[in-house]
Amino acid sequence: MTERTVAVNYVARVEGEGALRVRIEQQAVKEVELRIFEPPRFFEAFLRGRSYLEAPDITSRICGICPVAYQMSASHALESIAGIEVRGPLRSLRRLLYAGEWIESHALHIFLLHLPDFLGFPDAVHMAEKHPEVVKQGLELKRVGNQVMEVLGGRAIHPINPRIGGFYRCPNREEVQGLEAPLEGALGQAEATARFVATLPFPNVEEDYDFVSLRHPEEYPMNEGRIVSSSGLDVPFERFEEEFQEQQVPWSNALQSRTKEGRTYLVGPLARFALNRDRLTPKAATLARELQVPAPVRNPFQAILVRSLEMVVAIEEALRIVRSYHEPPEPFLSPPTPFRGGIGRWATEAPRGLLYHRYEVGADGIIREAKIVPPTAQNQARIEQDVRHLVERSIGLGDAELQDACERAIRNHDPCISCATHFLQLDLQRD
């Protein structure tokens, strides 16, 4: 046998639709193609002609798993055009909402999508037969994240309350204080989760990632910061498009990003953690020391551990905000008149990594052009490399085991394929 193809026609336990094709010739990996066959939905095209006020609602529909991320990047980018700067308690409320999404999204991936790989089950439901307490804990953490989003956003998926300038209505003190007890409970469970996942058997793998994330002067990054990388980049987020370029590949409905030098890079929890370890919240920092989490974590399988630590960060941040909450005088800031239009750019940290938006808006408030670069599109080329290395290491495996291993390598990065704004099937060909 000289040529061999290994195909995963549908990568399960990822959000959206994707496939992988690997071609092996003479025991060497020739091609790895991560295909995103999620049908294109053309968000950037139909945003043209819409009012800038509509963008947070419309872009949230790019992804049902991280709608708040889209709402946040869109709102900030457009507010920069409108001359609005959201500060003080409104800013804290946004961070609280975003923290809710991080908790929900990380709990979903850790317990329902990723953990079954380590414990050897096809899904959380089967896993629950042997490990009911673990699954219940995961669902409870997820529920608390959703509860935060429901109070702040009106509902957990596609929250209706955020808007340009802030919120339609700020929750009152009682509503917010109602979150304190569930969050306190969640904090203990998230710490227990980190201690538990630290004991999982991790394959001994190290990847040489170029990590890219936001970095904020005081906080673990969510809504703002400079773009930094492990290879020394440190620029304002407005420079995103000069530093990173998107290219289209024939096999995928998602554009792939690379650095301007043409290198792949990684965004998401591993990157944020590598570049912001000194910004961890107190309990997360203590836990990282206690569990001797390496700095940085270069083993993609340990992303589950980093996600657990980030869940602790998000819960501590949420608690801090909840405990000091006073209802802001106004639920939102209106743009100063007249509205002049212009170009606005912003990046925030979605649960899966840096999410960049750019808009050009006319003086009439109508969007002329929109560009959205989701985290998974940025990671796509780097995930292909992970898979290539895995196949090189495991070339002796039979097709079924190899397929399985490839799927795991992909799930490490929690790709969210629905964001094929402009984005997987495994097909392994061996000679």
Partner: protein, 265 residues
Amino acid sequence: MSPPRAPPRLAVFKLASCDGCQLTLLDCENELLEVTRHLEIADFREASSAVIEGPYDVALVEGSVTTEEDRRRIQEIRASSSTLVTIGACATAGGIQALRNFADVEEFRRNVYPSPEYIRALATSTPVRDHVPVDVELRGCPISKHQLLELISALLTHRAPDLPHDSVCIECKRRGNVCVLVARGTPCLGPVTQAGCGAVCPAYDRGCYGCFGPQGTPNAPSMIHRLHELGMSRAEVSRVFRTFNAASPEFRRASEGEAREGESS
């Protein structure tokens, strides 16, 4: 519905969508494990790598038809499912991606992709109902968790699900919301939008933007008249009907009428 057989097999399928509606099933945190005791989840790629071949008792279909491939797939799904339930605005009305139906998809392709020839997409985004018979529809962008659980328990007990067909206004009254339209003059599509969400937006001092789609017999002309009285231009009113249910016949007529009038005036 198929004759009782224990446990019924449920499959979840996805066409063009954001995954939000199927996530609603995983968001039933308190009920999820209970539900799975009564149902066999036979195919749910987002949540499980175990796949059991059809036929299925119930298929939940998320998303709209936007590719040749999905046009074929929905026929296969229908053929292998006793009860087919469409979940969400994408599946029931074409979703936000149906905005292409009002534009030139070629131009969209060129706008978004440097090499548009790699991208295969149909010129329209269409609801599942346009392709195959549908047994039950759950509205919303996203669907409501309560309606999903009601649907599942109805299916398990072999009764018809209780899904209200009145307008959001009725839910506002039930929730005790102050009417944002009357009290604040906030434009609100509640009067013409189907109930189901629990009147979330008005409870947050916001007008309804119609994410559950048109209510049975919406009085669109008087709604439009009211929106004009509140100072909205024809272009604005047209946009208001052109969101997540833009391609539903009622909202489509409303937006096209306004767009036409807007151009001729």
